[in-house]
């Protein structure tokens, strides 16, 4: 098995998670870790750096994993691509649409390199099942989506997500981006977007930006999102209305289990009341007790590296499109 010489820049929660997954996947040989905060590297045996440029220039890795704050992500991704490294970077791909367009320009010059962004939700079991249900056509065509993604966040805390100069946006950019990516994953691009964001509780914190948005595709499919840091409970719900039925994704299996049990429920349109209960068609629910999303995501990256092939999910096009959606919502 080919193993790629890899470095990880940014050893916060995501960097640690990628580190574990890369070791489990087996196709990566992590030689060095980098974080501006030296203490975060204490528990590791790999070579340690606090300067990311020095880390890349000294290690000369084949793969760079970028798990840093949004403000520096584009600089590191571009620098790594220019040194002919393959790159796996967390979402969001920067603070702004301009950031991701800058990355796109660099990637076009280094088209032999593989670049993947971590839109991890696409690999969750419920999302895989929903995609399969939609593609199988058994429930007809998607006509509408309704997503709620919220968390209980203490926005008074001094952390980078609450600092606009580092994060570039609030909950919509940090978490709502996943829901918007799923919307695109299920129905494609949106041509019309109307949004509204406001600070409803944390008046002085950039982290809130409670967002409501309505989006429409050229085919007339409508989606609405409510992205919230003031849900006061972690919550993930996505309803998909189809011409012949309905799909609901509720909860999301995470390491903390704080988004509840991950479930997908679907039912067929039953206007003839075959179920015997008006307005209550027979429901089918799948619940999942294992989260393989991190491993599947990394395996897809590895496969692309080995085959020098196309990235299926988390492409630069996905990243640009979703940042364009966010840009439109913020500027509505």
């Amino acid at each position: 098995m080919k193993r790629f010489k890899t470095i990880i820049i940014g050893m916060g929660r995501m960097g640690q998670s990628r580190y574990r997954t890369m070791r489990e996947t087996g196709g990566f040989f992590v030689t060095a870790l980098c974080d501006a905060c030296k203490q975060k590297l204490n528990d590791y045996e790999e070579k340690k750096y606090t300067d990311w440029k020095e880390c890349i220039d000294t290690e000369l890795p084949e793969v760079v994993v970028v798990s840093t704050v949004n403000a520096v992500t584009p600089d590191i991704v571009c620098y790594a691509l220019e040194r002919e490294c393959h790159v796996f970077a967390e979402k969001p791909p920067g603070k702004t649409l301009e950031d991701v367009l800058r990355i796109k320009n660099v990637l076009e010059k280094f088209s032999g390199q593989v670049l993947k962004f971590g839109f991890n939700h696409r690999y969750h079991n419920s999302v895989i099942e929903a995609k399969c249900l939609i593609e199988s056509g058994v429930l007809g065509n998607v006509v509408a989506l309704r997503g709620v993604y919220g968390k209980a966040a203490d926005l008074s805390l001094k952390e980078w997500r609450n600092d606009i100069s580092l994060a570039g946006g609030g909950i919509l950019l940090d978490q709502g981006i996943h829901m918007l990516d799923l919307f695109r994953y299920f129905v494609g691009d949106f041509s019309e977007i109307w949004g509204y964001t406001d600070r409803l509780v944390w008046k002085n914190s950039a982290g809130e930006d409670t967002a409501f948005a309505t989006l429409k595709t050229d085919k007339g499919q409508i989606a609405t999102i409510h992205s919230s840091a003031i849900q006061w409970k972690h919550k993930f719900d996505l309803d998909i209305v189809l011409t012949g039925g309905y799909i609901a994704l509720n909860g999301l299996l995470t390491s903390t289990k704080s988004y509840g049990e991950e479930r997908i429920t679907y039912y067929y349109k039953d206007l003839e009341v075959k179920s015997g209960h008006i307005g209550n068609p027979k429901e089918y629910t799948l619940c999942f007790d294992e989260d393989h999303s991190w491993n599947i995501e990394m395996k897809e990256f590895y496969t692309a590296l080995i085959k020098r092939g196309e990235i299926e999910n988390g492409t630069i096009e996905d990243a640009v499109a979703v940042m364009r959606m966010i840009d439109k919502i913020y500027n509505s």
Partner: protein, 323 residues
Amino acid sequence: MLRSYQYTNTSYLEHSLHDEFSREYEVNFAKRFVMENPSMKRSNVRCPVCQKGTGEFFYNKWDIDYMRCNKCKSVFAIVDDDALKKYNDSPELKKFRTEKNYQEMASTNRHGIWQENIDWIMLRTFRFCKQNKGLAVVDIGNRFEKYVDMIKSSPLCKAYDLRKSILCEDNLTISNGNADLVLCFDYMQGSKNPEERLLEVKKYLKEDGLLILGTRAGSGFDILTLKGKNEKIYPYEHIMLPSLEGLTELLEKTGYEVLELTTPGVMDVKYVFDYKDKLGDRETFVKSLLETGFQGMLQEFQRFLQKSGMSSFVRVIAKKGRE
């Protein structure tokens, strides 16, 4: 392995899959047959499912001993080969089950469930193969004409072979190693040697082909609760009731990759409910639940069983591994 749970929102407390006349006939026939063709009792029998543990006496039904594996907890009956073969080949039972009346009653009672099952098969086949139309399908042991017609005429099938069925001689249009999908419902529970059956089925499948298997599980609620009092489980019709653990182990041993394992059964509570008066003192909790529980509560309990892998109807999707 993706382990998922599936459950529905429907109550089956008022529902029956069987018409009383047919069920009574089948049970009476089996009872008479077993009395006339008894099997030898044996102890220290190795578990035919995991092949690691030993069967410990679990209960006796019509003088046939049912054992429970001390390792994988599968339940199996001690039966003689000759008696089992004679039962499976019985012209009287075959005649009864192929008669128009039996087939029509089955169709009336099960049509909805069959359609639901076909929809589910199409969906899961798409999930794991990315295609669910125009497949080469081998159906094993199906004994219902209407169900066969429904599968055959569904978009699922390009070619369809029915094998090991009382309805006809084996169809052999799909050569070994060319089936995209093998359907194997209620076939394992009548076998003394499940490993042999799984290996036989494997021969039909192409590489990465799918096996969809449904069977009664010995780890299910009604089987563990009712034991010998369970009128739905009897020799020589049901002699092999693997546990989920045992079944998974056996599939992996015989060269399958288990992709999904669910217990979507809907009848466990109903079966136990029907015989609650016969429950012994040891089943105080269950008896109390069934006597005092209102319909919504019992429905919720059935859902809990489905979700927890504790219903006695198990469905497995497995992929033929590469040699």
